[in-house]
């Protein structure tokens, strides 16, 4: 594996140096990016790249493709910062939705070129990092709740959501793959998503 494709799993640093861009809320960083602040962009990247990168890798399944997509996604974020509206979602959702869309675009383009599609497998890149104390521990706990909720979904619902969200399959393709009626697939997605939303609403 070339050095350009090496990813290191790390414990994201708690961002607590007061008075610098490092400590700013995501929204503030985006607002400053909109104003052309490059330091804010650097801090924004440091904060969000480790969060969206695993998603991109999971979808495109190739680290050098993933690095390309990651770059596109953050470049779009820089350019799109002036249009960001906090009322329409958190910066996390803003970035993750964008990363997911761009990754799926990439996978679909590859599929159009006739390359075989490999369905996503679970948590390929997940390895338990050392988490310790403070914000990091809190974050891990927070992650745990949603992760548990995901694990607790009835497998057919979880499968349908994952095939769509991570695999980029449409409802029709999922129905074909699972040999289930289209209506069943839709219902599974709705029920699974409703439950996820419920958990997120209640999580701190």
């Amino acid at each position: 594996m070339g050095s350009g494709a090496v990813a290191v799993l790390v414990n994201p640093r708690p961002l607590c140096y007061s008075g610098t861009v490092m400590s700013m809320a995501g929204e503030t960083l985006v607002r400053r990016m909109a104003g052309g602040d490059r330091d804010a962009f650097g801090a924004f990247y440091d904060r969000y790249a480790p969060l969206v990168y695993p998603l991109i890798v999971r979808i495109v399944r190739d680290r050098s493709d993933a690095a390309d997509v990651l770059q596109d996604v953050f470049w779009e974020a820089w350019q799109g910062a002036p249009a960001y509206d906090p009322a329409r979602g958190t910066p996390e959702a803003w970035m993750i939705t964008r990363a997911r869309t761009r990754s799926i675009d990439r996978v679909r383009a590859l599929r159009r070129r006739g390359e075989t599609f490999v369905p996503p497998i679970d948590d390929e890149i997940a390895a338990a990092p050392a988490e310790a104390g403070g914000d990091a521990a809190e974050r891990a706990e927070d992650r745990g709740i949603v992760r548990q909720a995901l694990q607790a979904l009835p497998p057919p619902q979880r499968e349908a959501i994952e095939l769509a969200y991570y695999g980029g399959l449409t409802q029709t393709e999922i129905a074909e793959r699972l040999k289930q009626p289209l209506g069943t697939v839709k219902t599974r997605i709705r029920l699974g998503l409703e439950r996820l939303r419920e958990v997120v609403r209640r999580a701190p």
Partner: protein, 260 residues
Amino acid sequence: MMGHETFDELAAVYAVGALDGDDLSRFEAHLASGCDHCSTSLRDSDEALARMVLSGTPAVPSPAVKAALLERVAADGRGRRARSRAGWVPWAAATAAAAAIAAMITGGVVASRYEAQLGHMARETAGVRQRLQESEESLRREVEVYRHAVELLRDPATRVVDLRGAGPAPEASARLIWHDKTGGQLFVANLPAAPAGKAYELWTIGSGAPQPAGTFQVDASGRGTHRVEPAASAPAKFAISLEPEGGVPAPTGPIVLASR
């Protein structure tokens, strides 16, 4: 609201990006009609899906990605480094203020550098715009040629005529897609560019004298296309000769390509 349940389901499938076919158009039309309920629901779903993603383990990508991005951002006109931590000033105002102060202090040295940079950027932008327009224009022409060829090929009465290089251009080759009623489309390859003041002219040859069928040029790679108007009478043969740029009513120059 009667029947909104269907949209709830479509909204969920849309949120995971899996809606397709009629469902997709139906839901997008519904969204476009301004359904607050559905847009709120999509927002909530996006947040929940984001949390699902965040429940995974973070991973840091190669530092090369950040380095490349910072370079791109540094080259971007909108970017600036934060000058002070005193608070956020809109960029335009900050730039204007900085330029004004700098001009006052340094007697315009810095300002003129800004101007030079702005001038440079403006030229660059104009150049890029022009290149874009040119490539758009040439793409449009190319598409027109192909469309015309395909249009012609749909008709069973269309024939494809090969022309072979002759005289001064033995390497040249050409193919003419020809229809007696609607004319044709000519594709030429390996033909040397015509000398200044000259052009290639196509001739249709029937029972009488050769009839002129338009002039054309080839590009640096020796390729050219030419749209041909229908001839007065159905031609049996075609030939191309080198002629004065404006074209002539009867061939005068050497034949460079001819059909059998």
